[in-house]
């Protein structure tokens, strides 16, 4: 029996609603103000590209949206879920049910096969058809012959396709992609981005993409810029 998802606090057409979000982190060198009053509203099905120099706060913003870090102040409502009212387990449930994440370094579980990696989000949701669905989406990304291969046996591009399949297998409303082509060559990177846009468009998935590549960002419907913790459109 698949686990029930977390009930949203306020159902809304916005999948992301960030208001005056500040993030301050303490370190040995003192306090660092990473996000300075970020306001961001994203509608369902939108494709957002975020560009900015290193250290501008792009990854921190993505972590706030994923519930991996908590804002120091400000409101964060994602897919109708007010993060200030969710516990750590609540945030974990949110990620399981509402979010897919693709990393620059793929981050596949090394001790699991491609099929097992992709099925993982569905297994966490106790979906009885986890492996059937995983097989299907691996076919969509062209890796039916790689089901039983471990990550170490796959090329970089193949690993990223597995990661993409894992991010989308549960049909989440939101996909976060942090430099998904950063560790790939140009051709492979283009293939991956074609897959990302193709699969998400078919599913109506909202995409939030961090990239250094301006050309890649411009494939999105909206492009935002981040500098010194301030977000501009």
């Amino acid at each position: 029996m698949p686990r029930k998802s977390v009930t949203p606090v306020s159902p809304t057409a916005l999948v992301a609603d960030l208001n005056n979000v500040h993030v301050r982190l303490s370190s040995r060198a003192g306090q660092v103000h990473i996000l300075r009053g970020v306001n961001l509203q994203i509608g369902a099905g939108e494709q957002i590209g975020l560009v900015g120099p290193s250290g501008s706060g792009k990854s921190t913003l993505m972590m706030i949206m994923a519930g991996l870090e908590r804002a120091t102040s400000g409101g964060v409502i994602m897919a109708g879920h007010d993060f200030s009212k969710l516990s750590e387990d609540g945030l974990a449930d949110f990620r399981r049910d509402q979010l897919g994440i693709v990393f620059q370094s793929f981050h596949l579980v090394p001790t699991m096969t491609a099929l097992e990696n992709v099925a993982l989000p569905l297994e966490l949701a106790h979906d009885p058809d986890a492996f059937e669905k995983a097989t299907q989406i691996l076919g969509e990304v062209g890796l039916l012959e790689r089901l039983d291969h471990y990550p170490v046996q796959l090329s970089g591009g193949e690993q990223q396709r597995v990661a993409l399949a894992r991010a989308l297998v549960a049909s989440p409303p939101i996909l976060l992609a942090d430099e998904p082509t950063g560790n790939l060559d140009q051709n492979t990177g283009h293939q991956i981005m074609d897959l990302i846009f193709g699969l998400t468009k078919a599913r109506g998935t909202t995409v939030f993409l961090i990239t250094h590549d301006v050309e890649l960002a411009q494939r999105c419907q909206r492009v935002m810029h981040m500098r010194d913790g301030i977000l501009d459109e």
Binding site: E88, I101, L108, P110
Partner: protein, 843 residues
């Protein structure tokens, strides 16, 4: 509920996926756990097998269903008639005697045993050459002896010996004496004869220290009949003063020895397991560090913290179960090979058996250790922030351990403590052990923390090599805690054992002989007193002599309360158990101080008064004016306690826990006990002269007795040291694990240094300097711990005098330090051999 069940199933499934890649990363985890559990299981199984064997062979060991013993006297007619009515009755008499060659040569202290025509009631007495019959005629003037008897006197079968006033012939060698073990520890070889022969020697005199055993094979073999017999004897003959023993506990002294040795060896095994626990914790820490990426991925994908914890706790339990299962299998098989040797040593047939109890205890220790020592690293790993994946660098920041993990850790340690008390015969032994280990852990952790601080302070004062070495000690991810704990615990154990053994050896071979007399003489008849004293004083080299009356009695009651109903502390239980030597005196004994209450006048002739050992009185909660009733020569004797004495049993002089006023014991049949101090030259003359002039007097040369005790202690010590090697091996494993866990960082450091032009020897010197500093501090601190622990054991638990042995401590500390350095040097040399700049290219 279905959600919980689903989580557990999922956790098991994900745990299996992690493990199916192989167990290569768990070698140290498995070995550390295996070593400790197999030791505990093997020792526990062997002890249980031996004790069970004693129990199953009880009737044969005891020589009957019950053994009723009287000292100094035989049964009255009424007593004998009652015993004969219960079943088949056989009488055996035992005493210590001096046997000598007929040519006036060597004399020997032997254990004499006089048998009747029914002996043995159970089992077979095997002689070489075998006797055709045990008819009385065959036994006149005949003795059967152990092979050791012939060897020590240089005799053969058929030759004659002098025993008391009689000249007897050695007819055969005893190959197997079925009830040998029931007599407990023997001071000399066996010499067996008929009851009539013993009486012909003139040694059987009123007041002699002779034990008369009445063995019965009951008509009713039910166990309840044994209890009924004991109760009936106590009711019908309340003042008989006999000791009752039945087949269910045929040799309590041997059983207690086995149990006590087993306990000590188990505690040594437990120390190995505790050290192994550190290795287990390190191995899991290293494993979880490698798994941090997987853990953070799972959390990013939506796995709850509890699920992450379950995945890894199931792995830990599965691996622990594997190690423990193998350990229990080996631990239950090993005793099968050893029990044969022990059975041969004890001269009783014994079959290897299987007892689940010790294995369950070992498994309990194993699981509690595995889970307890892994909760901290697991709790930290479960707290890993999934945000670290975005930073693409896994931080090793220390996070707090959640409360649930701390609680499980506490429960596991409580289980370990509880099991310690469960297996220990005495609660104070368990408490000492737990306190010692706990204290060691705390002190060693503090040492590691202080070491880091000290290293930080010392950095500016050293050159390049020293600075790098010191920085390694307090760098993030330093293995200093593991190194200090593993080195420290094993050095603490080694130095404790070395100091305890050194103290015993020192007391036995130096201190005690300096204070102890040259000879003890027992069974001196009152009419021999003057002659014996004159003889001793006539020997060249005579120094001193002390002679006191001696009787034996057992405690019947304290303040009118029967002895069986009194609960006493375990350290003075010996006083209430069985019979005690006691004496009477008009004056305070020379070797003890009266601490409370007045001594009776020297011409006192009134109702019996008693002087008691202060420590025993405190243990029994006695006050001046209380009464003690003892059974002496079959009669109850009640005395009022009028003073307490401080008694030093380690002085080597004559000491008694109970001293009566002279009346009425001075009129009872009894013998005298003497100590004689002589120079070394006088000892031989005294020994040969005493035996020939006073054949009924048994003389025990103290040096021989010390030698015998010393040999036993050596054997005991060898067993302890053998098992302590397990602990040392476990600590080396832990150390190896700690070195391995820091391997990657060291190889990286070495690659950078090599790229910058450093030679291999210089790099080695940095690493060796780091371990020299850490190892030396750890060894010194734990040497102090061991010294303190030995002090607590000797002065506290054993109530003896502790002596600091600096050479012993230095040897154990330096030995451990050397072992650490050798291991570190070999490990580093092997690691540095493979370092190339390829490592830098991958960055």
């Amino acid at each position: 509920m279905s959600s919980v069940k689903g989580d557990v199933t999922l956790a098991c499934r994900l745990a299996w996926r992690e493990l199916r890649g192989g167990l290569a990363g768990f070698r140290i985890f498995l070995l550390c756990l295996f070593l400790g559990v197999v030791t505990i299981a093997a020792v526990g199984s062997l002890s249980a097998t031996l004790v069970d064997g004693l129990s199953q062979r009880g009737q044969e060991i005891l020589g009957g269903d019950a053994d009723i013993r009287l000292i100094h006297r035989e049964t009255t007619r009424e007593e004998k008639a009652y015993l004969e009515a219960q079943g088949t009755l056989s009488q055996i008499s035992t005493m210590r005697v001096m046997v000598r060659r007929t040519d006036g040569g060597k004399a020997l202290l032997a254990e004499a045993k006089a048998i009747d025509g029914l002996y043995p009631l159970v089992g077979q007495l095997q002689l070489d050459p075998p006797l055709q019959s045990f008819a009385a005629a065959q036994l006149i003037d005949a003795v059967f002896v152990e092979q050791g008897f012939l060897e020590q006197l240089g005799l053969e079968v058929g030759e004659r010996i002098l025993l008391g006033d009689a000249t007897l012939t050695v007819r055969a060698v005893i190959s197997h004496e079925p009830d040998r073990l029931s007599g407990g520890f023997a001071y000399g070889p066996r010499v067996m004869m008929s009851q009539e022969t013993l009486r012909s020697t003139g040694l059987y005199q009123p007041g002699s220290l002779i034990n008369n055993h009445y063995r019965i094979i009951l008509r009713n073999q039910q166990a309840e009949s044994l209890d009924a017999l004991r109760a009936n004897l106590a009711e019908k003959f309340p003042n008989a003063g006999w000791r009752f023993r039945d087949r269910r506990d045929a040799s309590p002294s041997v059983r207690r020895s086995i149990e006590r040795i087993g306990l000590f060896l188990t505690l040594v095994g437990l120390t190995a397991l505790t050290v192994g626990g550190v290795g287990v914790g390190n191995a899991i820490t290293a494993y979880l560090l490698k798994r941090r990426t997987s853990i953070t991925i799972l959390k990013c994908l939506g796995a709850r913290q509890s699920l992450v914890g379950e995945i890894y706790i199931f792995q830990i339990i599965a691996l622990a179960a594997l190690a423990i299962f193998i350990a229990l299998t080996v631990g239950s098989i090993l005793p099968q090979f050893i029990v044969g040797y022990v059975a041969e040593f004890l001269d009783i047939p014994m079959e290897a058996g299987f007892d689940i109890g010790p294995l369950l205890v070992a498994a309990g220790f194993g699981f509690a250790t595995a889970i307890g020592f892994t909760m901290r690293p697991l709790g930290r790993a479960a707290q890993t922030s999934p945000a670290q994946l975005f930073r693409d660098a896994i931080s090793e920041d220390q996070v707090s351990v959640p409360l649930i993990y701390r609680a499980i850790m506490a429960i596991c340690f409580l289980v370990i403590i509880g099991l310690c008390f469960f297996i220990a015969e005495r609660a104070d032994i368990a408490a000492y052990f737990i306190a010692g280990v706990g204290f060691s852990f705390v002190v060693l952790r503090m040492t590691a923390t202080l070491l880091k601080g000290l290293a930080r302070i010392l950095v500016p004062y050293f050159g390049f090599t020293g600075r790098l070495a010191l920085r390694n000690i307090f760098r993030p991810g330093t293995p200093v805690y593991s190194v200090v704990l593993s080195v420290g615990l094993s050095v603490a154990l080694v130095s404790t054992l070395a100091m305890v053994e050194g103290n015993f050896a020192s007391q036995l071979r130096q201190d005690f002989p300096d204070r102890a007399p040259s000879f003890f003489a027992i069974d001196i008849q009152p009419d021999q007193k003057q002659d014996f004293e004159d003889f001793a004083r006539s020997i060249d080299g005579f120094v001193d002599m002390q002679m006191v009356p001696m009787l034996r009695g057992s405690v019947l009651a304290i303040n009118g309360v029967e002895a069986e109903q009194i609960t006493v502390a375990s350290d003075i239980a010996w006083f209430m158990r069985g019979d005690r030597g006691l004496t009477y005196s008009a004056m305070p004994p020379e070797n003890s101080d009266v601490t409370d209450g007045p001594w009776w006048p020297s011409d006192y002739d009134g109702a019996p008064l008693v002087s008691m050992d202060q420590r025993i009185a405190n243990g029994l909660g006695l006050s001046l004016g209380d009464t003690i009733t003892m059974n002496v020569l079959g009669r109850p004797l009640t005395g009022e306690i009028t003073n307490f004495r401080k008694v030093d049993y380690g002085s080597g002089q004559i000491n008694f826990a109970v001293v009566f006023s002279p009346s009425p014991l001075k009129n009872a049949p009894h013998t005298l006990l003497a100590t004689i101090s002589l120079s070394s030259e006088g000892e031989a003359k005294f020994a040969s002269g005493a035996v020939s002039r006073f054949p009924n007097i048994t003389t025990v040369r103290v040096k021989d007795a010390i030698e015998t005790v010393g040999q036993l202690l050596n054997q005991f010590g060898q067993a302890i040291w053998s098992l302590s090697m397990v602990t040392i091996f476990a600590s080396l494993l832990v150390l190896a694990g700690a070195l391995a866990s820091s391997r990657q960082g060291r190889i990286y450091d070495a690659a950078i240094l090599r790229a910058l032009g450093a030679r291999r020897g210089r790099i080695m010197s940095v690493f060796l300097a780091e371990y020299a500093f850490t190892g030396l501090v750890a060894a010194l601190i734990s040497g102090l711990i061991g010294t303190f622990a030995s002090y607590a054991l000797i002065e506290g638990a054993m109530r003896s005098t502790w002596v600091f042995l600096p050479d012993v401590m230095a040897l154990s500390v330096l030995g451990a330090f050397a072992a650490t350095m050798i291991l570190a040097a070999v490990s580093f040399w092997l690691q540095l051999g493979g370092v190339t700049l390829n490592i830098l290219r991958r960055e």
